[in-house]
């Protein structure tokens, strides 16, 4: 079948980082006017492949064709000249200046800028592409969703024919994601080609025409969305059937209140109010999920409970003992285990796995005034074995993958059989295998009778694991629902501050 040339085509792309091969002989072709998903687990090489297309990395092997012509893309400047635009996972906007200024930044080569004309052009582009944005707004005052729109307009303004979006929904509330999908459909219908990176199956099914799946840096295949389903895609992604963790509903041990928050308030790092009189309790043998859009006070709440941020009002107690504004040591002594949101802030990157595993309870590893290095090592070996961690005791922890690092933290907490577990974003950035492992472990702890507060921005995770679900919005608890009464729609509305 003769067809018009692909919008872009990548042939035999290989990219190595030291010993890691992030892409191995990957072929990828994008038709004009289609939305194609680039699907794969975390670490599959999606971002790398697209950074190569956008000129941020240079492939070790392979060629790129734009509109049928071989293209030498050595920098984003070349990519833009070839009509390729990209919205990266971390936005490249300058917060203190306006939307328009950000959009024309680095684009105009004229010395003096006619700002009014520029504003008008941006406003016109916003209308034409159906993406609402206020040209004169300062970027620092925009929400994450709005900033993403600025990034998209920025790419389109530079006459992109191909738009790459790297995990655009990761930072959005469900309603915002829906809006984005509407915009993408409109853009496609006007002839734009879109590459949509994701690891979320339902999104891919909802808005794409074709799906290319990467697995461990290699091409697993390209399929038409209409001819596939979530189960098949999942199989392609991981190379095996995924097995959802199963929450056993019979659980006779749910009972006493183990963690209680009464009117907890706190400030964020900029001294602004982040938590407003938060109250809830978690019982033994239950997982309370705390859902919310990123940045609504989840981090601050976790830190207050972990003992790394003072509260400005209210009380916290665990197992009947007050731990309001207690330090980490005291909190751990009451039987609270802490798995923090930022893995890198809770392990000392330059220290070994064994040292990190011992660090929280170092006094237990001292003999006659000296560190008992044998004990530290043996302890690490036991945990590495028990938690299937792919590392040796003396490896520096920064050399571990995210999944293994998380297992180290998990091991160090769970080995002490905590009666209360505070866990924040436990699977962020982990691949499917590690994610399931972590969730399984949390369910085991619930079964054992631990009271678990699960703070997560991943709604699927919340729905899969929680017995009850609390929703936080702008530092306040909107509602606490039994899991049976919670569905995505209702939670989505609560997460956007709409009481239902």
């Amino acid at each position: 079948m003769p067809h018009e040339p692909y919008a872009v085509e990548m042939r035999g792309i290989t990219k190595r980082f030291g010993t890691i091969t992030a892409n191995r002989a990957v072929d990828f072709a994008l038709r004009k006017g289609e939305v194609q998903a680039l699907l794969g687990e975390n670490g599959a090489g999606k971002t790398t492949l697209m950074r190569i297309l956008y000129g941020l990395y240079h492939a070790d092997e392979g060629d790129i064709f734009v509109d049928g012509q071989m293209a030498d893309i050595r920098s984003p400047r070349h990519a833009i000249a070839h009509g390729v635009g990209m919205v990266t996972q971390h936005f490249a906007l300058v917060p203190p200046i306006t939307v328009t200024e950000n959009i024309i930044l680095g684009y105009t080569d004229r010395f003096n800028i006619d700002l009014d004309a520029a504003h008008n052009k941006v406003a016109e582009a916003s209308r034409r592409f159906g993406i609402a944005i206020e040209p004169r707004a300062l970027v620092k005052n925009l929400s994450v969703g709005e900033r993403q729109r600025v990034e998209i307009i920025k790419a389109l303004y530079r006459d992109a024919k191909v738009l790459i979006l790297d995990e655009p929904t990761a930072v959005l509330a469900p309603q915002e994601a829906d809006e984005l999908f509407e915009s993408l459909k409109r853009l496609r219908d006007s002839g734009l080609s879109v590459i949509f990176i994701s690891h979320k199956l339902h999104e891919v099914m909802a808005i794409t025409d074709r799906v290319t799946v990467l697995r461990s840096g290699e091409l697993a295949g390209t399929v038409n969305t209409a001819e596939t389903n979530q189960a098949d895609l999942a199989k392609m992604m991981v190379g095996r059937e995924t097995f959802g963790v199963t929450k056993s509903d019979v659980n006779g041990r749910q009972g006493d209140i183990a963690l209680r928050l009464e009117k907890i308030s706190a400030l964020d790092s900029k001294e602004l109010v982040a938590l407003k009189e938060i109250s809830f309790e978690v019982r033994t043998g239950e997982i309370l999920g705390l859902a919310g859009v990123s940045g609504n006070g989840q981090s601050e709440l976790a830190q207050v409970l972990e003992g790394t941020r003072p509260s400005t009002g209210g009380r916290v107690s665990a197992n009947g003992r007050e731990i309001t504004n207690a330090g980490p040591e005291q909190i751990m002594a009451t039987g609270v285990g802490r798995i923090p949101e930022d893995r890198h802030e809770s392990v000392v990157a330059e220290m070994t796995v064994a040292q990190n595993m011992a660090l929280e309870h170092l006094h237990e590893f001292v003999r006659r005034g000296m560190l008992d290095k044998k004990r530290i090592r043996a302890h690490a070996e036991t945990l590495i074995e028990a938690y299937q961690i792919k590392a040796r005791p003396n490896d520096r922890i920064r050399t571990l993958s995210g999944g293994n690092m998380q297992k180290v933290i998990l091991a160090r907490v769970l080995e002490r059989n905590p009666s209360v577990i505070i866990v924040a974003q436990p699977t962020r950035g982990l691949d499917v295998g590690a994610t399931e492992y972590v969730r399984q472990k949390l369910l085991e702890q619930r079964q054992r009778g631990a009271a678990i507060l699960l703070i997560s921005e991943d709604l699927d995770e919340i729905l899969e694991l929680s017995d009850r679900i609390a929703v936080i919005y702008e530092g306040e608890i909107m509602n606490v629902l039994p899991a049976a009464e919670a569905d995505i729609e209702r939670l989505g509305l609560l997460m956007c501050g709409v009481s239902v």
């Binding site: 980082f17 030291g18 240079h58 972990e306 003992g307 790394t308 330090g327 980490p328 040591e329 751990m332 802490r338 923090p340 890198h344 802030e345 809770s346 392990v347 000392v348 990157a349 330059e350 220290m351 040292q355 660090l359 929280e360 170092l362 006094h363 590893f365 001292v366 005034g369 000296m370 560190l371």
Partner: protein, 352 residues
């Protein structure tokens, strides 16, 4: 052909070579200065590095010169490992020397086995006391210790001058130098008819203690955790403020010991040039020694060698003595540069 710089850490086997490479590189770039005064760089470096070791007398002198540097290097290391940037070893040394003098002057008729430990203790405490205010300001008020410890160096020097021009002015010569300390307070010589004194043993013991505390004790591990990642240390329940305070104070104490050895081992009285920058050189020593106790010992010996060689080289070739200082300063910059660069690699790539 295309050259690219990528972020990727140097392999582990390469890291110990960095100080050595830095030394070689420093000699290459300082060669131009030697050429400038019409001397032959190779013979200059012969006098710098080899000649001092060729005679017993000058080899012993190398140990003498390195003694205070071992101590200030250990002091700086102890602070830096704990994430406390003590730039005040110079001032702490001066205070240690002042305390040693004050005690030494009172020791007439007191046996050496009392006088010497008393001076060592006094010098340690004085260094610690001088380090207290900046350390407290750091942990209580988050005031940058780099600035405060540095500024206090000048204050310490002014105090010493005030003492030497006031109460301690030598009554006989009227020079700004203190009277001599009691004979029993003078450090015994390790080798007769040389300048090598008990202070060298003290310095080596301190290195062993620092090594032991940093690598073999729970406190040392906590200190390293604080130094390498204070937020992770805090999360793990380590009292970051207390740990930092202790590492700053102990560091000051060790620097104070360097003042003791200079007074009791070399000069026997206090002069305002008692340090001559050993506190600052300690930063070079600690950096070149990659914050490792044994590395500090080696680095101090090396700098002691250059110090000794600088005199030989100027005598033999007419090169200014300051060349030794230039080499030391260049060495610090090059070592720092190399330590930074070890996080990167240069890639050559042929096009096509």
């Amino acid at each position: 052909m295309q050259i690219k710089i990528e972020r990727s850490p140097a392999p582990v086997w390469f890291r110990p070579l960095i100080p050595l490479l830095a030394i070689v590189f420093t000699f290459v770039i300082t060669a131009s200065l030697v050429l400038l005064v019409n001397a032959n760089p190779l013979s200059a470096y012969y006098y710098f590095l080899i000649d001092p070791l060729s005679s017993r007398v000058s080899a012993i002198e190398v140990l003498v010169k390195s003694t205070p540097l071992i101590l200030t290097g250990a002091a700086v290391t102890f602070a830096f490992v704990g994430g406390y940037w003590n730039i005040g070893a110079e001032g702490q040394l001066l205070m240690g020397a002042t305390a040693a003098t004050a005690i030494g002057l009172q020791m007439h008729g007191v046996p050496a086995w009392i006088a010497i430990p008393l001076m060592i203790l006094g010098g340690f405490l004085a260094g610690m006391l001088w380090a207290l205010a900046p350390a407290l300001m750091r942990v209580k008020l988050a005031i940058d210790e780099v600035v405060t410890t540095l500024l206090l160096n000048s204050v310490a020097l002014l105090i010493v001058s005030a003492l030497l021009n006031g109460p301690w002015r030598d009554p006989i010569s009227q020079w700004p130098q203190s009277p001599e300390i009691a004979p029993s307070a003078i450090f015994p010589k390790l080798i007769p008819r040389s300048r090598l004194h008990l202070g060298f043993i003290l310095a080596v013991i301190v290195v062993i203690l620092v090594w032991f505390v940093l690598t073999r004790t729970a406190f040392g591990l906590r200190m390293r955790a604080v130094g390498m990642g204070s937020s992770a240390a805090r999360f793990a329940g380590i009292n970051v403020d207390r740990t930092m305070l202790i590492s700053g104070l102990v560091s000051g104490g060790i620097a104070g010991l360097a003042g003791v050895t200079e007074v009791a081992g070399i000069h026997y009285h206090l002069i305002d040039a008692i340090s001559g920058g050993h506190g600052y050189t300690g930063i070079i020593v600690a950096t070149l020694g990659t914050l490792n106790a044994w590395g500090v010992l080696l680095a101090a010996l090396f700098i002691g060698l250059i110090d000794t060689g600088a005199q030989t080289v100027s005598r033999a070739l007419g090169v200014p003595v300051y060349l030794g200082d230039v080499i030391q300063a260049a060495l610090l910059l090059v070592t720092l540069g190399f330590l930074l660069l070890q996080g990167y690699r240069i890639r050559w790539r042929r096009k096509g």
